[in-house]
């Protein structure tokens, strides 16, 4: 091996480095960030003026501040839901349209490294957008009511949320040659996924409740005294795949849904010992761990989807050669 070959290679991800050092300087980035903040800021200012007036009249309570934060987080999550596919779904397809992907694939970069670079740069940019809105969320610090750690926890969940949506953007971008098609497919898939995973646990629990109801009311073969004979509460855990339920849980656990004076709904655990989950108690460890379980699941799904994208991107995937009809 020659000295040149022995020479250590630069391990830096070229795609990530390029997008961070060159593409990040483009005005487009600043404009998107500005638009996001311009969209959220009026709501924040409106609330702030409202809180200011209320406190001048001595009627401002923690409830108002809590709802301010809740609205802001949901608003931000909704905006991110719309922005993320638009940003990520062009990552690979744009390279295909510019015809730069082939050239990139002939370098020593593997498809997995290219995917990591694209995903990483998208994630950093989207995280920056989340961080850029922190001052608007942090308005509540003026009055107190939420700790900095809780705010970080919320931010972290939002980042996992966008990381999760981003991976589908990358996946469809790898799958298609057209950016518009990729964006449409990403929106479509993510919307269906969100709706399906949100509805699934309640459909399953509804099914169990229906059977229990039928058993209890018919009393055909045996006498049933328990209205909830079949315990299907664990089925609610299918909901951990839902980013919406996770957002509901994390906001409940950090801010709390102030529904009345001294009355607060604390995420998914609040559904225990109700008609939805009659068997699970309020100290059920599984439901209490809802958000961490969900974050791990989302991270795992993201990783698997990205690995799959890398496999699709590999131009010479598979080692076996097809049999050729030589005619």
């Amino acid at each position: 091996m020659s000295t040149e070959e022995k020479k250590k290679k630069n391990k830096k991800n070229a795609v990530l480095y390029k997008e961070m050092t060159i593409d990040m300087k483009r005005p487009k980035i600043v404009i998107i960030m500005l638009l996001l903040n311009l969209f959220i800021a009026p709501v924040a200012i409106g609330f702030f003026i409202g809180i200011l007036i209320a406190s001048m009249n001595g009627v401002c309570s923690y409830r108002v501040l809590a709802w301010y934060l809740i609205v802001m987080v949901y608003l931000e999550a909704s905006v991110l839901f719309f922005i993320t596919p638009a940003i990520t779904a062009g990552s690979i397809s744009l390279e295909k349209e510019r015809q730069t992907l082939d050239v990139l694939l002939t370098t020593r970069m593997t498809p997995w490294e290219i995917i990591k670079g694209k995903y990483g740069s998208n994630l950093i940019f989207l995280s920056l957008m989340v961080v850029s809105t922190f001052p608007l969320l942090a308005l509540v610090f003026i009055y107190g009511g939420i700790s900095f750690i809780q705010l970080i926890y919320l931010g972290l969940t939002l980042m996992v949320f966008i990381a999760f949506i981003s991976c589908f953007g990358i996946f469809f971008s790898t799958l298609t040659k057209n950016t518009i098609l990729s964006v449409i497919l990403t929106y479509l898939f993510v919307s269906i996924y969100m709706t399906f995973t949100l509805a699934l646990p309640f459909i399953l629990l509804g099914g169990v409740a229906f059977v229990n109801d039928w058993l209890y009311n018919t009393q055909t073969y045996i006498t049933i005294t328990d209205e909830h004979l079949i315990n299907g509460d664990i089925l609610v855990m299918f909901g951990t795949f839902s980013p919406i339920l996770t957002l509901f849980d994390v906001i409940g656990n950090t801010i709390g849904y102030q529904i009345g004076i001294g009355e607060s709904v604390k995420g998914m655990i609040s559904l225990c010992e109700t008609e939805i989950m009659p068997h699970f108690t309020r100290d059920n460890i599984i439901v209490k761990s809802w958000t961490p379980i969900s974050l791990v699941e989302m991270s795992l799904i993201s990783f698997l989807v990205l690995r799959l994208s890398a496999v699709i991107l590999n131009p010479v995937k598979g080692k076996k050669k097809k049999k050729v009809n030589k005619k």
Binding site: V103, T106, G318
Partner: protein, 316 residues
Amino acid sequence: MIEIKHLYKRYGRFLALNDFSLNVGPGELFGFVGSNGAGKTTTMRICVGLLKADGGEVLIEGKDMLKNHRELAEKVGYVPDYFGVYKSLTASEYLHFFASAYGIYRSDADKLTAELLDLVNLTNKKDTDVNGLSRGMKQRLCLARGLVHNPDILFLDEPASGLDPKARYELKEILKNLSSMGKTIIISSHILPELAEMCTSVGIIDKGHLVLQGSIEEIHRAAAMSSPLNIAVNEEQIDEAFECLKENPYVQKVTSQGSILKIVFTGTKENESELLASFVRSGIMVSSFYREEGSLESLFMQIVNTKPGKPEPQRR
């Protein structure tokens, strides 16, 4: 250096490569000629690991490209038949990006980029957006990109297509320069004379099959042989002349224009002399005997227009 063995590639029902085999030695400037759709790009894409063959293998320095892609990517440079440039980057940033994609450190990349831009005569354009470069400049920049990791082998897919004569000339000069540095260059085109001017050897592909390969001297000889042999005989002895030609194994086709016979003759100069001698022995009066000046274009056209199976001694 490069061994392509029995490659097959099918796109749906279309067989793009059909038992394609080729050998290119180290330091060669190899011209790869074929009409549109003959299989040039497919072959190149398989060679650089962008496409999987349905059968056969590509060995570079004895190693299978498919199995050792990452290792061989260091040895192979590829310039496709499109630019593939990031329009938002400057020429210098563009080369830096690809240098880092090959794991070259920034400190080394600075020097390397300057050298490459100098090699392709783009030093004065280093801070110009790639979008602002002319077609010829973009092509030279792409060539520089293909050289960024100092590969031993360079695949160029129709690099001169769409370039004006000046840009073509500049490109040729750069390629000759690279060849003199000892690099193996495989350059594709559908224009044989264009490649013949700079290549050391040439291969002609037709319908996914290599139909001719040889050094540039052999190709020129083949071109000379490909043109018809004109024999002017006494008009009354035309039938005898036909009889005489029928017996000659090198005669492929004979047409007559009055007393002039146009013969597709695949034999050597000696064979030509023997043919003339046979005419004389048969008592046929020959007033002229000469070959038309052969052109590479006519050779190419003759090869790609010939149906498979027809005897062609020069073919492989």
